[in-house]
Symmetry: C2
Subunit: 300 residues, 2 copies
């Protein structure tokens, strides 16, 4: 069983592209020709799957991973669950690592049920990694951690999120001087220590938003073994410079998750070929922007 | 639009039963005659729905609400999503308030997607209330709060969970002397203030485990307007005495969630009628135990 973090580092280094392409399907982001005439949940779910194929085709040779936001599928009810499972399968079939952005967190047998649902392939492929919420403590992660070791899966625990309200709880000042998210990061580091690969990175990673550049840099420095999943690039305000500062000497160690940035341009596409091309162009631009920022940081 | 907390208080007072009957379906808890010969996800999902009908029939005249743990459905992949939606519908059709135990938490448009998925009825009924995780701050709750006001929905925010690892983050001591969960509770109280009904209780409630009796009592006293959802009764170790102390003068103000306690006995049932009867007996016993504890607390 290959360590998840090692797989990420290897692919992102080969491709020169520390990107998790975010597929956040919404009706208004569908390529024009895929917009369903009827607004039934079933028709929209079907259009999401067709969009996913084009999106994955556009990014497949440029990024190591995709991140699927399950909420947009869940908004469609049961047909969305089928579409989500199908999208996981379609991405895996193209050789992409699949991160399920599920942000689950529950206890005991319930956490086990979530781990089964997301890491056990039924008739279809399962995600390689998922995002998890730490508020309930380590027993909410345990069933996932078991599969990190035995199946080469990965998890990314929410540490410092990219949204404006992130400080409500995460910035709570503790009696020992740390802020809550720093305590969370220390715990995740400890939980992840047994899961480090030959790359030095752990398959128990952290979600840290690009929108808080100072916190991103501080967490990167304090936790050199943590694989980071970094949302918030582009539309939300995170910059290539912020990422450039947080990359390791090999230009790796994290996955920048961007969605709007990569999905926006294909909305105007009139056919499949131009939707794929628009997605590919956007991914190329993002990769180049990150590379320029990285190089400029390393050149005195 | 009727306030959710008012509906809970009214029904639990009329029934003398502050109980949310927890439906946590698992193969080993299925009444014997419903256990599928094949272990396919589809067959299990179908059995969960048949079990739900009997469970809801057993509790319908004895409790105001049911709590459906979505993780056990999600463990089955897409067929589980259909089964979950069907169970929501079956419970609502019996006049039960439905709490979706989903513990979601995400940001911006993603949080909106979750709110759409769980509060918008598609072809089927939607939940009356859901549980949510506060780690991402108030913007993760906003789309749900909007529907609390406009549609009479409820939310229960995780404050102090019932599991052994709850202290990992929730008991972090803050610089101001509070523990993190107390800060969470203060925030939830503030967020819920605009959503109080004529009962005095807010439709923005808190999840507080029965397994930590001292914390439950302290939170009850500090937040008299918060409707509490109290898991952990029975199998996990929470006692009727702990609940008795936390009930208000009318024997209300919270919903005790119990699942194993109510589902265990029907597993041995050989037919539908005895499965319903076993569930009804268990719900009656639980109601009586809570009533005795309540009365003994009030009688000097």
């Amino acid at each position: 069983v290959r360590n998840f973090a090692d797989r990420v580092i290897e692919r992102s280094t080969i491709l020169g592209s520390p990107i998790a392409a975010g597929f956040d399907p919404r009706v208004e982001l569908l390529p024009r020709f895929l917009r369903p005439a009827a607004a039934s949940r079933r028709a929209v779910a079907h259009a999401f799957v067709r969009h996913a194929e084009l999106f994955f085709d556009g990014v497949a040779e440029l990024v190591p991973a995709v991140k699927l936001q399950i909420a947009f599928f869940e908004s469609l009810g049961p047909p969305g669950a089928f579409a989500y499972a199908r999208c996981v399968e379609l991405a895996a079939a193209r050789g992409l690592l699949v991160i399920g952005d599920i942000k689950r967190g529950d206890i005991g047998t319930t956490a086990t049920a979530y781990a089964e649902g997301h890491f056990t392939a039924g008739t279809r492929a399962a995600a390689d990694a998922v995002t998890l919420n730490p508020y309930l403590g380590i027993d909410s992660l345990t069933p996932f951690l078991d599969r990190v070791a035995s199946e080469g899966r990965g998890i990314f625990v929410l540490v410092r999120t990219s949204n404006p309200s992130a400080p409500d709880l995460q910035d709570a000042r503790l009696a020992d001087g740390r802020r809550l998210f720093e305590r969370t990061a220390d715990l995740v580091d400890e939980w992840g220590a047994p899961h480090r690969g030959t790359s030095g990175y752990s398959s128990v990673g952290m979600v840290v938003g690009a929108t808080y550049a100072a916190e991103l840099l501080a967490l990167r420095a304090a936790h050199p073994h943590a694989l980071l999943l970094v949302p918030g690039y582009g539309a939300q305000g995170g910059t290539a410079d912020a990422i450039g500062d947080a990359l390791d000497a090999d230009g790796a160690g994290l996955l920048v998750a961007a969605s709007r940035e990569l999905m926006r341009d294909s909305a105007a596409a009139g056919d499949a070929k131009s939707a794929v091309a628009a997605t590919r162009d956007a991914a190329n631009r993002m990769r180049d922007a990150l590379r320029r920022a990285f190089v400029s940081r390393r050149t005195p």
